[in-house]
Symmetry: C2
Subunit: 309 residues, 2 copies
């Protein structure tokens, strides 16, 4: 395999983990597909995604489909369904399940969900390419003690530590519980995806072992975040169970903790363009493990239509 041209050090459009933080202009489109009346998103939806770096699609999955997914999810969380331990992250100081990785490999219904036309078809249109899963997981944020997740751009980490060449990936969050402003929803800075914040600081070895619980390297400074928030504002994405949120790989996002009694759970899929497959990391000695960053996909996803349940 020859190394893609983008990976030659002198051609890196998104250098990061530098001595000093820098703001760089995005060098890639946000919407790679060409809109037509046959597109799986309306023109307004497509433009909103382009402008804001995210879109909230309500009522994508029916109550019956959500009930079926919740049933599978409960089985995985309760320990009833056997999971490979390396795919499970627990809450700090307890064995309560916070995240199940490689969700598509652990469970047939979630694999089917990942390949559903209502998500993967739309993402494939936005990325103008076939897609595969760079990462997939089930997130579970309990009530009362749900922890915050600090502001970050996913692409910064995927580029630096996973070797993702270009900004041509989209995350989809499928809400399995109702989510409102108060139980730790996804917060985003609309428009922030057009600026790449090259972060300060070298990548420590095995950074992912701590960064999954608390990220310290690869996040913008408080000064940058304040300026971005003043410029773009802070919005949040919420909705009933069955809602799908699509967001660009470079949109700054995070979430507050949750002391309400209402837990929050979602299935989370990162779709990368087939032409944008990962290579050697741009700013780390070794790539993160495969449960965080699929290193060797065999073929693009086979997208399927029809109801899940």
């Amino acid at each position: 395999m020859t190394m893609p041209a983008t990976q030659a050090a002198n051609q890196d459009d998104y250098p990061t983990r530098l001595p000093q933080e820098q703001w760089l202009e995005r060098k890639d489109p946000t919407v790679w597909g060409r809109w037509s009346p046959e597109a799986p998103l309306t023109r307004a939806e497509t433009n909103a995604f382009d402008k804001n770096g995210f879109i909230v699609l309500n009522g994508v999955f029916s109550p019956a489909e959500i009930a079926a997914l919740q049933h599978e999810s409960a089985g995985m969380r309760s320990g009833e369904t056997k999971l490979a331990p390396e795919n499970v992250i627990t809450e700090p100081g307890s064995d309560e399940v916070r995240t199940v990785f490689r969700l598509d490999e652990q469970n047939a219904l979630f694999d089917r969900l990942a390949r559903d036309k209502r998500i993967a078809g739309r993402v494939s249109f936005l990325l103008g390419d076939d897609v595969y899963l760079h990462q997939s997981r089930l997130n579970y944020k309990p009530g009362f003690t749900g922890k915050e997740f600090y502001w970050h751009s996913d692409f910064e980490t995927w580029h630096a530590e996973d070797g993702m060449p270009r900004m041509r990936a989209i995350s989809a969050s499928v809400l399995l519980t109702d989510n409102d402003a108060l139980n730790g929803p996804l917060m985003l800075m609309p428009g922030s995806h057009r600026t790449f914040v090259a972060c300060a600081g070298e990548t420590p070895e095995d950074n992912h072992k701590t960064s999954l619980k608390r990220q310290e390297i690869g996040v913008p400074s408080q000064d940058s975040l304040t300026k971005m928030a003043q410029q773009f504002g802070v919005d949040y994405a919420a909705g009933r169970a069955g809602t799908v949120i699509l967001f660009d790989c470079n949109t700054l996002h995070g979430s507050n903790g949750n002391i309400t009694p209402f837990p929050r759970s979602n299935a989370f899929f990162v779709y990368n363009a087939w032409s944008n497959r990962v290579g050697a990391p741009y700013a780390a000695k070794a790539p993160r493990p495969a449960f965080l960053s699929s290193r060797d996909p065999q073929a693009p996803l086979v997208i399927e239509s029809g109801k899940l349940a």
Copy 2:
């Protein structure tokens, strides 16, 4: 001074810190005053307070008044204004000011604010009595790292640890910064003020030394909170700087942490009815110190009219 009849152990309407948690009906009115067209709140506002246990009053203080208060607040936080160290609580692990107690004694403008007719006059009407300050403080929740404050009823602590006989006290929060759903606003369970959750567990000595940072005794169980949230829902109180939130002493409330860059600051006054002055604690060996619980007020507040600035 003779002991009020309510303090005889066999007449305590609100026993708490018991071997087992219990739900008891509130034995006191929420609105003690009698509404008339001359009342300082509309009939609808008065009824809403009675029903929900809180009310949000927008635009009570003008931008010029808020600017003057913010100026005084900045002086106290920066250390420019000398403060007695026992009145200041800092963030865990730093010397950043989180709370300034005895706000009315530290600063003339905040003293005037506490006695303003637009707050104290309305509270005095709702309580149907003269009022005095049981506690007063300036709260400062920074951006990025603002910590959550767990669910509690203030009255439970004030009764158990301060010796407040009846539910006849109201807290007022004056927003000095804009506050929305995302930067850790006050969350409340509307209607929860009608139930007294008698809490499980004996009061440890000097409980306030830890409970101000993280309360563990005197809070309802997760089971109770879940039932209450299902019954009453969770609402939040937000608004522009200059908004005033009034809430009953027994309304369950808390707040999430705040990772947004937007700090949150408010002046906080607890008004107690003059006839409801504190005595010996109902469920603690010694009362909390005077900066948390004014033990010996000399006279009711003198309420003043007119602009602050």
